[in-house]
Symmetry: C2
């Protein structure tokens, strides 16, 4: 998918919602647990009921890997189902990979060729030759960790007052080949940093987790983070997929997604992006 | 496996060699490519011929993932075979994972519980709550990226003269709960940094890739990096597993491993670790 196609989807749906798919056997509804492939059944139902309200899905590979090869198969099935039924949705493998040259290319092949995802999340620690192999794929994106929303972010990302590590990641990565295919993870609990981040990467899409459960506020995020192409994908995982653990979980998930979509439609009007 | 058991293995074999398993369909011998599971066949033959000369194996998950669910099955089979035939070898999943709390626990479960690996490589970017979930598992280890051997390492790891990022990673991570179960990746091409690193983490094992192919020298690494329990695992991947692409590839791999083991035995004598 191209960035222009993503922006068009956002405009058509008045939504920049990304739904995170973190299937957990302890949390999915009891009536699914004994199925042959409970993770796929769960994700499929969530997708069917939320797809009208979101423009992106973000399966978290860790949850699938925790079930071994069977989990990896559920992941492949989920992504194949997305490509089949939601061809205009942006699919982000939340894999947080990061390794050198040839190994990075293997990861890129796993997610872009084997599974046909549009993007993969990548950790920046190893620098240029761990990121550029992902950027070499046309119409695919590398979502680089910049400023994350967890407590541990302060260990390394923000220790320096002047040019903290996350700023260094933003500016240095913009010099990489095909940096136009870079997006960045920016935790919404750090809304106060968003203005600065927008100065450093004015054109890049930001993937924002943590609105809701982790306390980020949508209006503050939009005021500080939107650019003239929206430039935001706001992710919600648990707040949608685990809103109910009863048999109606998928309907409730759809309802939660719709509530967020309506808030986003309001923000798009307020920020006058498409007007 | 405990650290004491690992040290005992090193002493018994006079070897601190780790063999990296990076199976690549383009590089494995032609006669294996049409087998039902070429990756497992390749890894099994390599293991059978090198196990007497090494104390650790490091399967690189990227190469397996690039073949999708089938590749993940090959990885599971390879690790099961290692646990069955080499119960005293230390198994490192070279996965370079790194994500927050609950997600990190899922990754730890994938590699420690589903597959029964002894260790997994982890990227430090997200800080404490992305590392401690791995350290919570007894007799398992988290091998944290510190100073890597690739070109891109200079993008972030060594940019500052004073307290560069890799030093910050070493010292901060030592404050994490169960830091006695931390090891660190230190590229051997950076042998000049090893003395400083030993000051910062005197007791930790270091996983050293890049001796050989990437130009690090074993004697320099040992002189600067060994501690009183050896404290080093030196990895070789391509130099062993792709030493030959003919039908005798496994024998040649074994021979290469033996040459390295003998060099290591010399170094152990020279450094008088066990005497």
């Amino acid at each position: 998918m191209t960035k222009e196609q993503l922006v068009q989807q956002i405009q058509e749906k008045s939504s920049f919602l990304c739904v995170g798919l973190d299937p957990d056997l302890q949390k999915i509804p009891a009536h699914l647990r004994d199925l042959e492939d409970p993770f796929f059944a769960f994700c499929k139902a969530i997708i069917d009921h939320t797809k009208d309200y979101c423009v992106a899905y973000k399966p978290n590979t860790a949850f699938f890997e925790a079930r071994g090869a069977a989990g990896w198969q559920s992941l492949e099935k989920t992504i194949a189902y997305l490509n089949e039924t939601c061809p205009n949705h942006f699919i982000i493998a939340d894999a947080k990979r990061g390794d050198i040259g040839n190994t990075a290319t293997q990861y890129a092949r796993a997610f872009f060729e084997q599974m046909d995802c549009d993007a993969v999340t990548v950790a920046p620690y190893m620098g240029r030759d761990s990121v550029e192999p992902f950027l070499a794929f046309e119409k695919r994106f590398c979502v680089l960790l910049a400023l994350t929303s967890n407590q541990g972010a302060k260990d390394f990302q923000t220790t320096r007052e002047e040019a903290p590590l996350y700023e260094e990641v933003l500016t240095t990565s913009q010099t990489y080949a095909h940096s136009e295919r870079l997006m960045y993870v920016v935790g919404a609990t750090k809304a106060e940093y968003l203005e600065r981040i927008r100065q450093l990467v004015p054109a890049s899409f930001l993937l924002i987790p943590g609105v809701g459960a982790q306390g980020g506020k949508l209006d503050e995020v939009c005021a500080a983070g939107m650019n003239k192409e929206v430039g935001l994908l706001v992710n919600s995982s648990r707040g949608i997929i685990y809103a109910s653990s009863a048999e109606d979980f998928a309907q409730v998930a759809g309802e939660q997604a719709r509530v967020l979509q309506q808030q986003m439609a309001e923000e798009l009007k307020k920020q006058r992006v498409f007007s």
